[in-house]
């Protein structure tokens, strides 16, 4: 499974989106549609850290990195690269 599919599956299962992971659009706005509330944000950051062995800095937890499944995927891609280089 690709990373973005794994992220979608987590979002759908964890936050009960009522849709199949494959049907969740890459650009579905998770913030405007109320998928990510305060607790969901903390659990999502925690899941990403465990799943992809990341140490996410609070300064990076901003709207543009968490707005859609695609932006989360891009954020993780950049973070994984940084972690490898670091």
């Amino acid at each position: 499974m690709s990373r973005i599919d794994a992220i979608k599956r987590h979002l759908v299962e964890e936050y009960e989106l009522g849709t199949a992971p494959a049907e969740l659009a890459d650009d579905y706005d998770l913030l405007r549609n109320g998928v990510i509330d305060s607790l969901a944000l903390l659990t999502l950051v925690s899941w990403l850290e465990n799943e992809y062995a990341l140490d996410i800095d609070a300064a990076d937890v901003v709207p543009d990195n968490f707005r859609t499944a695609a932006s989360i995927d891009a954020f993780v891609a950049a973070a994984v690269t940084t972690a490898k280089v670091g």
Partner: protein, 336 residues
Amino acid sequence: MIAWSKDDERLKEGISLWFGKFDEDRPRYGREPAFPREPWLAVMESGILRLPFDEKWGGLGQSLLTTMYVLEELGRCCRNTGLNFGITTHMVSTGVALQRFGSTALKDAHLPQVCAGTAVGTHAVTEPDSGSDALGMRTTATADGDCYRLSGAKAFVGNGPVADLVVVYARTEPAAGPLGVTAFLVARDTPGLTFGDPVEGTGLKSAPLCSLFLDDCRVPRTHILGRVGAGLLVLDHVRTWEILCCFIVGTGEIRRRLDRCVAYAGERSAFGRSVGGFQAVAKRIVDMKIGLEMSRKWLYDTAEKFTAGRKVTADLATAKLVADRIAATLGLGRAA
């Protein structure tokens, strides 16, 4: 339990020499709702406000744990609970937020005064309609060139009547949920920022609160703590420090009451023996001791875990509830 170093003990003893001065004129501050200005001068001189901040900005470079160790002693020795509350509010709301999330320029400009106590700090989170539900806040911040325009009202701002610096949490993107809030450092004299009359806090007369009004208040982008939309994370970090620091002061206060109870139980005699020898009294004292140690363990263990970079959401909630319930139960004179 933690083995404190000789340096920790020396630091605690050195700063605690000032606690008598913190406590001066307490009956006066127990009567009228006023910020204790004169004791605050002793607070500034003592260096206690400098504890957790980097030496580069005038801090003492101490860890969260060592800071808590000194604050616990503050609670034990200083009976001006409003002043103690003012100290922790100042340190965590403004100092901790600025040190962790401020730009170097912003830290250079304000952190030395926060460390010295010459600029009193606070934060404005609660609103009249949404309480402490940070996501329900209505105060908005709208981008306008190199500034943001803040509009709205805040309530129950601790240290508010005397604050020189306020960390204001406002919505920068109304529909972005938890990523729609941003933290701004706002100076008292910023046009558009006004303060309401002092309001007396229950049981904390010397820590007056007030409302705060923002009317198209222009705040430079450079005064953002963290990044736009990261306010909730700033608040999460600050709240963690706030709970650990405020509640460890409370355990110091419990320790003081326990010591007084033990002393009295030894002094007071009935039926030819000190009352502490009666099981009904001894049991209550033992329960106090157990409650005190349970609170301390939860708070220090959570602080160690947090310092190690681990998630402490559940630990912190547990520590807060345990310490809170024990303080309330003992304060009401019942066994824990």
